[in-house]
């Protein structure tokens, strides 16, 4: 064996040599398959300087620790020691985060297709390899939970359920923004907003909650994931600095960054806020989701990052960030949580009723919480037993808010809800509801982006709940007990017969709200097309006619949008949104 150590190579020199591998093409120019509105300067800087000889052993070492952790957790009896309430919510969380990792990887590929700066490409590619790693680790975590935790039902058809679930489908929608459309806008969504702002919440704060609930292996896995995120954040910053060099990109950055911010907030805040606060049994953490948000999002991201872009000419009004916080203060996730719990028969995990200890914690963090939400939670707990023969959903669905066409979550804040009418591809007038003017703005300025059968309840309108449960395959191995349950007990589990006895017929809040408001049809389901009224064949949409709600300028109740208007909006020369 050689005794002499390899002389340490200079990282900078190695990287400089490796960077020489790019060359200007002279026989054939690369042909991209994605389009961008951005222009690129000649020079860019790779802040990562990642070379495979260092990268591969580093990642292997991290892998070894994580996979070793799985064995250790098993030997330590973690599957039965971890809190059951917490373990249940891992089912949707892990699977949507796996989709997020895939989205992040594919984001790198679309960005590489349009960014000509060789200096940046290596960093992007290394990130895609990281994301393949994250998918493997997190699916392994899902597999470990399925094989070892007390109640595996839900994991067994997890990917099937994930694609159709009321909440995770909204996550699929949001994360898809990071690899469809303009690659640079997609890159901002993933690298600048999701990774730079929100991974601290998802991969640092959330594992802390996991540990408090006795789930050490979740924390082990996600801490390892987060160790890669610093490099991904660098990729986002390098991309930003590169496009900032060209003044004509600045209006695009202003426009795209705000849109990216909003769509990520619209899903992540109600989703993660609900998970963190309503699925933790441990109440030792006196830091609420809002406090964590202030620390990670407002201080560490908005004030330290976005505001600093102002020095480089990017003028982003603070209104949209302030609005997001105001929505959290107004109870965005507290109003979303009861709806999530009430839809338990349609979920692939169990929901544990809140207890007195939970009530006290919420009241300490959010004074006045019990007065506003307590009765709903008391009712939820009272109806958890099938002997009661009643579902909270029955009462809730009648007065439930419609679902937002853009972010696909419920329009829970009355003052924010708005709508417009559009024609579908058959020329039929329909109403689109939005949870906020910002979501409306996203839909208006991105024609063709939002496709599919989007409103969750539209296709089930008029069906019995039991019928929908069977259709979605939400039954355990015995063929009669529901996967989702409104409590954690192993006795008194709800069966299909219990659901039939409760006799609930689904109504779509989008349809009933439009009817109540005297608006055109609120459904975007098309009986003739399994993929909804927006698009024809699932792989290509037929553009709908775009116009706004209200009085209109066309004399027929419509506000006309010309292609010029849309083009102007797309480059940010129009106000971002009028509130």
């Amino acid at each position: 064996m050689a005794t002499q150590q390899t002389r340490r190579r200079s990282v900078t020199q190695t990287h400089e040599r490796v960077a020489q591998l790019g060359w200007k093409r002279s026989y054939h120019e690369p042909v991209p398959i994605y389009d961008t509105r951005y222009v690129f300067p000649d020079k860019a800087k790779d802040p990562m300087k990642q070379v495979m000889r260092d990268y591969l052993p580093m990642q292997l070492e991290k892998d070894e620790r994580v996979y070793g952790g799985f064995d250790a957790a098993l030997r330590a009896g973690m599957p039965t020691k971890a809190d059951e309430r917490w373990l249940q919510i891992m089912k949707p969380l892990i699977l949507i985060l796996v989709y997020a990792e895939g989205a992040a990887g594919r984001c790198m590929s679309v960005v590489m297709d349009v960014v000509p700066n060789e200096e940046l490409l290596n960093g992007y590619h290394v990130q895609f390899v990281d994301e393949v790693r994250h998918i493997g680790m997190q699916m392994n975590l899902a597999r470990w939970y399925a094989k070892n935790t007390p109640d595996p039902a839900g994991w067994h058809k997890g990917q099937e359920y994930m694609a159709e679930n009321l909440f995770t489908r909204a996550g699929v929608n949001m994360f898809s923004h990071s690899f469809t459309g303009d690659p640079i806008a997609a890159g901002f969504t993933m690298m600048t907003v999701i990774e730079t702002a929100f991974t601290n919440v998802a991969f640092v704060a959330l594992p802390d909650v996991a540990t408090r609930n006795g789930d050490f292996i979740q924390a082990t896995t996600y801490s390892s994931v987060q160790s890669d995120e610093a490099r991904h954040i660098s990729n986002g910053y390098a991309t930003m600095l590169t496009v900032l060099q060209e003044p004509e990109n600045i209006p695009l950055i202003q426009h795209d960054l705000q849109q990216a911010w909003w769509i990520v907030h619209a899903f992540v805040d109600p989703f993660v806020g609900t998970i963190m606060e309503y699925f933790s049994t441990d109440r030792s953490d006196e830091e609420s989701y809002l406090t964590k948000w202030d620390r990670w999002i407002r201080d560490d991201w908005y004030r330290s990052y976005v505001e600093q872009l102002g020095k480089m000419g990017v003028d982003i009004p603070p209104a949209m960030f302030e609005r997001a916080r105001e929505r959290l203060v107004a109870g965005l996730h507290h109003k979303t949580a009861p709806l999530a719990f009430a839809t338990w028969p349609l979920a692939f995990w169990k929901f544990d009723p809140l207890t007195q200890t939970d009530f006290e914690w919420f009241e300490r963090q959010y004074p006045g919480w019990y007065d506003e939400y307590g009765a709903t939670w008391e009712a939820y707990a009272a109806l958890a037993d099938p002997e009661e023969n009643a579902l909270l959903l029955s009462g809730l669905l009648d007065g439930a808010p419609p679902f937002c066409f853009t972010c696909m979550l419920a329009c829970v804040l009355d003052d924010d809800m708005c709508h417009r009418t559009c024609q579908d591809r058959h020329g039929v007038e329909r109403t689109r509801f939005y949870c906020s003017p910002e979501c409306k703005w996203l839909d208006e300025t991105n024609p063709g982006r939002y496709t599919g059968d989007r409103n969750y309840f539209d296709k089930h309108h008029g069906k019995a709940l039991s019928e929908v449960i069977v259709e979605l395959g939400l039954l355990r191995a015995d063929g009669k007990t529901l996967v989702g349950q409104p409590h954690l007990r192993t006795d008194r589990m709800w069966t299909l017969d219990d659901i039939r006895a409760a006799d609930l017929q689904i109504t779509s809040p989008n349809i009933t709200t439009a009817e109540a408001m005297g608006l055109p049809c609120g459904s975007w389901h098309d009986e003739g097309d399994p993929f909804g009224a927006v698009q024809g064949d699932g792989n290509g949409f037929q553009p709908v006619t775009l116009y706004g709600g209200g009085g209109g300028t066309n004399g027929d109740g419509r506000n006309g949008y010309s292609l010029d208007d849309l083009a102007a909006a797309a480059v940010g020369s129009t106000p971002w949104v009028k509130l």
């Binding site: 994991w155 990917q159 489908r169």
Partner: protein, 350 residues
């Protein structure tokens, strides 16, 4: 799904706890492998469980993923399997092992003074052309990584991403080797290699071919062209015939380790590409049409790839103990055998 037996049903019959298995996974063998459990359906599809269509589309009408991203068609893209079942953990284990072996070879060469045993003519060859192959690997990397996103199932996307990662590792290994040689022997620069890549007549058909790969817009064409044409003819020609065999004959202590590891990675991609080609050619409904498309691709790329190999004769002639004719014959035989194994004609297109 068309033609698939639900894994959950199969297991239930065997009395296994069905709720502890990923029932959406349709295993190739009796039981799902870790690779299958960890990979399948991590990329959702409207042809699998997204029954409500794509939620997010491109302004031009392409869905989140687009069936028209390839000319080929099969019943279920997610039915494809990498025959070697590579996923992240074995990828890092193997990749790290490659780098460790190379570093150990460098350490050994320095400790034992082995570089001094290389003939001057071989050292001159390394100075002139030893790093040029890095540009080939890097050029293929740049298109592979760009096309990975559009592939129509997770097993395909991950395969293309890991292939790209291997190409980048191979390219960088050559460059780092150049740095080490520069330190030990002097005058081994990447600038000189780049100059050869951009200017030397013998390398221009190769550069033209690699640049043309950058125009591929169909991810499946990338798999077929790289796996059945460019890698077996040009890639193996460079790695095995220009570097590995002569380096062994010239007592080069490091180059064979670099080339052998790259060849090991190529063996994985060869198997992947072969399995992919067989998969598309044997599709019950689309197999015949797929065959026409694959043959068209081969006819379009093979003559240029062979011409690129032929043009490298002057480079081989300056590498001591390299045998261009024998090397060319060997790669052609191997490529024909590969095509035959895929069920394709071995006839060389005009």
């Amino acid at each position: 799904m068309a033609g698939e037996v639900r894994a959950g049903e199969r297991r239930q019959r065997r009395g296994e706890d069905p709720e502890r298995q990923f029932q959406w996974v349709v295993p190739k063998k009796r039981k799902a492998s870790v690779y299958e459990d960890l990979t399948l359906d991590t990329q959702p599809s409207v042809h699998r469980f997204m029954r409500n269509g794509w939620y997010c589309s491109f302004p031009d009408g392409r869905g989140t993923w687009d069936d028209a991203s390839t000319e080929l068609a099969v019943a279920t893209w997610s039915a494809f399997r990498d025959p070697n079942e590579l996923w992240e953990r074995p990828y890092y284990q193997q990749g790290a092992q490659c780098e460790k072996e190379i570093d150990a070879a460098v350490e050994g060469a320095r400790a034992e003074g082995l570089n001094a045993g290389m003939p001057d003519a071989w050292v001159e060859f390394l100075r002139r052309d030893g790093q040029v192959t890095a540009f080939v690997e890097h050029g293929i990397w740049s298109i592979a990584t760009r096309r990975s996103r559009a592939a129509l199932s997770d097993v395909l996307t991950h395969g293309i991403v890991l292939y790209a990662a291997m190409k980048q590792r191979q390219a960088q290994a050559h460059v780092i080797h150049g740095m080490d040689l520069d330190q030990d022997l002097g005058d081994v620069t990447i600038e000189a290699a780049k100059e050869r890549w951009l200017q030397a007549e013998a390398w221009q058909p190769t550069r033209r071919l690699v640049e043309r790969m950058g125009t591929i817009t169909d991810w499946a064409e990338l798999i077929v062209v790289s796996g059945l044409v460019v890698e077996p003819l040009l890639g193996a020609g460079l790695r095995r015939e220009l570097l590995l065999r002569p380096a062994l004959a010239n007592a080069d202590p490091v180059t064979p380790v670099i080339a052998r590891n790259a060849q090991r990675e190529w063996a994985w991609w060869r198997d992947f590409s072969q399995a992919f080609t067989e998969f598309v050619l044997t599709d019950e409904e689309h197999g015949a049409a797929n065959r026409d498309i694959v043959e068209r691709w081969l006819a379009s790329w093979e003559p240029e790839a062979r011409a690129a190999v032929d043009a490298l004769e002057p480079v081989f002639s300056t590498a001591p103990r390299a045998d261009f004719a024998a090397g060319r014959e060997a790669v052609v035989i191997d490529q024909e055998a590969l095509k035959a194994a895929c069920g394709l004609s071995t006839e060389v297109p005009a």
